[in-house]
């Protein structure tokens, strides 16, 4: 039997990316040097990833990347970075994080910008290790292959293919004639926003509004806000900081989940694109709707919040955090009433705009689903009428509509199956997990949100789940981040057979 996929090409290009992974490892290494904590957890991975990368590059000289090879390469890239990213946690050997399953869970949660943690006691871990979590998330935020396309000239031709495979939803909007320039532009916006947030957060600290927000915290939080990922070096997340910091983080989460293509035009002074985008209005409308809903519930519930400012801040913060799939918490929303928690739970399924750093199903898909369905209602009563689905004035072709229906359905099936697994697996080890907690944990990992409700709440940890559940969740985060299809394609026999 001959294999139809030129897997050597895929592995070779994964090698090229791994070879460069030593660069981001320098930041935690530097912090470890400064703090005088263990250096080996970073030095060994630096050597390992470089050797592994160079080794994989020797597989072939061929560089021709086609659609088949792109699926394999995208899936493998995310998986292999998670594996390399887990090495420092294992090598550092601190607490439960050092077991291989926990380390891989944490690393996958990092690179896929999920923000679900297995850390129970944050005090045990060095600042370098905690920074490495944030760096992983920042790398994963815009899509690791968008970054690769921007900096690696080898990917200049296959780059569009890769970016499209990585983000299934949108045709890669080439802003410039060269795909690498487009990718570089997106990264410049990303870096610019990150820098801006560091300045804002540290600025608040300097003028006395954020006594807890040191430079280290400002950098770590900026890394995990724009990337809508949600790891905080603090055990109690953003609840550890002043209201000023919480207010300041909200717009950055919201911007991170806004289409970077539209942001690019907005920064050029062209706000019309943003204003005329159906999806942007839908996204902002949903944020507003759920904020008002959650705020209303909190207002009725009264305790523990005493002022309108608190209610507004916490309602807005949590809705933005969950809907954009960031996963920060400004308060322990585990303690909220069922109505408020269920509203937040619904937000997990929405996500931000396509072409942003967000995960989940995304507003573009929901908007097309809503429009296509209302069209179907119209044609039900007018059988001979033809009515295309329109989005921001453009016609969405029927094949795309069908793909979006299918994707949404498959996502929900994944979620249901995962939920059942979590419940059954927990009862196997006599761990008390309610159905709602299991649903929220499945959604929080599969849709890359991070914190769930109950046992895996915002200030809790995924550590108590059995090993088997954590392995499945690691898989869910991986599959969810690259939007299912690249991984599922690999599981079809016709992909491999000739």
């Amino acid at each position: 039997m001959r294999i139809r996929v030129d897997w050597r090409v895929s592995c070779r290009l994964v090698g090229t990316i791994l070879k460069w992974l030593w660069v981001p490892l320098l930041l935690p290494l530097g912090i470890a040097l400064y703090d005088g904590t263990a250096l080996l957890p970073f030095i060994l991975p630096i050597l390992g990833t470089t050797l592994l990368g160079v080794g994989l590059e020797q597989l072939t000289d061929e560089r021709d990347l086609r659609a088949r090879e792109a699926f394999l390469m995208v899936s493998l890239t995310w998986l292999s970075i998670a594996l390399v990213g887990a090495a420092p946690f294992v090598l550092a050997g601190d607490g439960m994080l050092a077991t291989p399953v926990n380390a891989l869970f944490e690393s996958m949660s990092g690179i896929t910008t999920t923000g679900a943690t297995v850390i129970v006691d944050f005090e045990r871990h060095s600042r370098a290790i905690l920074m490495w979590r944030a760096v992983l998330q920042w790398l994963g935020g815009l899509g690791i292959l968008v970054l690769a396309t921007a900096v690696l000239s080898q990917l200049s031709v296959g780059g569009a293919q890769l970016m499209e495979t990585e983000t299934q939803i949108q045709d890669v909007n080439k802003l410039t004639p060269r795909i690498s320039e487009t990718a570089a532009l997106l990264w410049k916006i990303y870096i610019g926003l990150t820098g801006l947030q560091v300045a804002v957060l540290y600025g608040l600290h300097l003028i006395g509004y954020a006594p807890e927000m040191t430079l280290y915290d400002a950098v770590a939080h900026a890394f995990t806000t724009i990337s809508t990922s949600g790891f905080s070096p603090r055990g109690d997340s953003i609840a550890a900081f002043s209201p000023a910091v919480q207010w300041a983080i909200i717009p950055f989460m919201a911007i991170g989940a806004t289409s970077f293509i539209l942001l690019y035009f907005a920064f050029q002074g062209n706000f019309d694109r943003l204003r005329n985008s159906d999806e942007f209005r839908f996204y902002v409308g949903l944020l507003g709707f759920f904020t008002v809903g959650v705020g209303g519930v909190l207002l009725v519930d009264g305790a523990p919040y005493t002022s309108l400012e608190q209610i507004a801040r916490h309602a807005l913060f949590q809705v933005v955090s969950i809907m954009t799939t960031t996963g920060y918490a400004s308060t322990d929303f585990n303690l909220w009433s069922a109505a408020a928690k269920h509203l937040l739970f619904v937000c997990m399924f929405i996500g931000g705009m396509a072409g942003s750093t967000t995960c989940s199903i995304k507003t573009l898909r929901w908007l097309v689903v809503v429009k296509a369905f209302s069209r179907d209602l119209f044609t039900a009563s007018n059988p001979s009428a033809v009515r295309p689905v329109r989005h921001s004035g453009n016609v969405v072709d029927e094949e795309t509509v069908r793909d979006i229906y299918a994707y949404t359905l498959v996502s929900l099936v994944f979620f249901i199956v995962a939920t059942i697994f979590v419940v059954v697996d927990a009862s196997r080890v006599q761990l008390s997990v309610t159905e709602f907690e299991a649903m929220s944990a499945a959604a929080a990992t599969f849709f890359n949100v991070g914190p769930a409700f109950g046992i895996a709440g915002p200030l809790e940890s995924y550590e108590p789940f059995p090993q088997s559940t954590k392995i499945v969740m690691t898989f869910l985060m991986w599959v969810g981040r690259i939007e299912i299809i690249p991984v599922l394609v690999l599981l079809t026999p016709s992909y491999w057979r000739s």
Binding site: S384, V386, P388
Partner: protein
């Protein structure tokens, strides 16, 4: 004036023949039979050849020509012909196009393609259709003076309140002038004592509001309301533009197209239209979709026969008004005779546009009445005109009797022409002129 017409199809030949009465016309066509036919049937120099070839154009005397009209059935040929002609000097070029995209391009840059004036047949026709549909009982509507003045031709319904009255009695509208009546195909100037019979057509000139108000008194009771529920049958280019223009008026028309792919394309291009894919000659379908309750059905398929069938079917199931597109000019009156309310011939609209460039004098706009028995003209009055600087009751004595002054506009204001109204130089005047006195009138005004 020396005019070269490229393309002796129906439009080209008609233009050539009508221009030949007062101009030197040369026709170029690739078809030797057409060339021969024209050579023997009229006083025209006909040359066989390709109008896009510089050699042929030179043979036709492009160097001395004042105007070139490219009127073949192929858009690209017409554009290339104009471009080629421009290389030889400063001939005024007119191109007829079907595709409105070319018109868009040309509107953006008036030097595009070397075309000095562009006529889009399909767009003009769609405009005509939409104007007629918007006015109950109208068979023809043309705007003048930038829309301040309208010329409209109505068919008088049997139960209309003006039947049996004289023009004097019927003329209750302030800003409206009765120009003429068409009785059994003959144009008659409207005098105060002329009696209006059912089945006559009346031609009025006035402000759009008064024309609209007048239309209600002409129409029968069932059609007197403004048409809102409009169905376009046929997704031809004319059908597409008609639906688009109706959308622009804030209506939600329905369009029925038989071909599924074309239907999908139209649905994508027409966000405000309900596009239906079905055979419009299926009566069960028409009744099932309540097409019978529509205010108007416009038959705009590519086939005259089908348009006739659709409009008759629609009329039969009870649609208030039917409009049909007729490519073959001579069928137009036949369509109206057998029951179609309005038959619109795309070529006539094109001919109006092209002829207005060849009229001597300061004609700004023009409309042809009943097979050129008469014309409605808009002119800008200059000092030398007999109209200038004196009241109308004085100046009419010098004009032939078959002339009606329909409306005056001054500084974008509508002025009702009465006996004592003084016309100034610079005013725009809309005149109704019978064809036989046309050249005399043009000299005087």
């Amino acid at each position: 004036m020396r005019v070269i017409v490229v393309g002796a199809g129906e439009v080209g030949a008609n233009i050539a023949i009508s221009l030949a009465e007062s101009h030197d016309v040369t026709v170029i066509d690739v078809n030797p039979e057409k060339v021969e036919e024209l050579t023997y049937s009229s006083d025209i120099l006909a040359i066989e050849g390709d109008g896009t070839s510089l050699g042929i154009l030179e043979e036709a005397g492009i160097a001395e020509a004042d105007m070139l009209i490219a009127s073949t059935d192929d858009d690209e040929t017409n554009l290339v012909t104009c471009g080629t002609a421009k290389t030889t000097g400063d001939v005024f070029t007119i191109a007829r196009v079907r595709n409105a995209n070319f018109l868009d391009t040309w509107t953006r840059s008036e030097r595009a393609f070397g075309v000095d004036f562009m006529v889009s047949t399909n767009l003009l026709t769609a405009n005509d259709i939409v104007r007629v549909v918007g006015l109950p009982a109208a068979v023809d509507v043309d705007p003048f003076a930038g829309g301040l003045v309208q010329m409209a031709e109505f068919e008088v319904a049997a139960d209309s309140e003006i039947v049996g009255r004289t023009v004097e009695e019927a003329d209750k509208f302030d800003a409206l002038t009765f120009a003429a009546l068409v009785q059994e195909g003959d144009v008659v100037i409207a005098r105060g004592q002329t009696r209006i019979e059912a089945g006559n057509k009346v031609i009025v000139i006035g402000s759009p509001e008064s024309v609209q108000a007048f239309s209600k008194t002409v129409a029968s009771a069932e059609t007197a309301d403004e048409a809102r529920d409009i169905v376009v049958v046929g997704g031809s280019d004319i059908g597409y533009h008609t639906a688009r223009l109706l959308e622009e008026r804030g209506l939600e028309p329905r369009l029925i197209e038989q071909d599924a792919d074309r239907g999908r394309q139209l649905a994508e291009d027409l966000p405000g239209t309900i596009v239906m894919v079905h055979d419009a000659t299926d009566v069960d379908f028409l009744v099932g979709e309540h097409i019978d309750r529509a205010d108007a059905v416009i038959a705009a398929t590519d086939s005259d026969e089908k348009n006739l069938l659709v409009s008759l079917l629609a009329k039969n199931i009870g649609v208030a008004r039917t409009v049909a597109v007729v490519e073959q000019g001579q069928y137009a009156s036949l369509f109206e005779a057998v029951g179609t309310d309005v038959a619109i011939n795309p070529r006539e609209a094109t001919a109006e546009e092209i002829v207005r460039f060849t009229q001597e004098g300061q004609v700004e706009n023009l409309s042809l009445i009943e097979g050129r028995q008469a014309e409605v003209l808009e002119i800008e009055v200059d000092e030398a005109s007999v109209l200038a600087g004196r009241p109308i009751h004085e100046s009419v004595t010098e004009l032939p009797s078959d002339v009606v002054i329909g409306a005056i506009t001054r500084d974008q204001e509508f002025i009702v022409p009465r006996g004592g109204t003084v016309i100034n130089a610079g005013d725009h005047v809309v005149l109704f002129v019978a064809a036989d006195v046309l050249s005399r009138v043009m000299e005087l005004v």
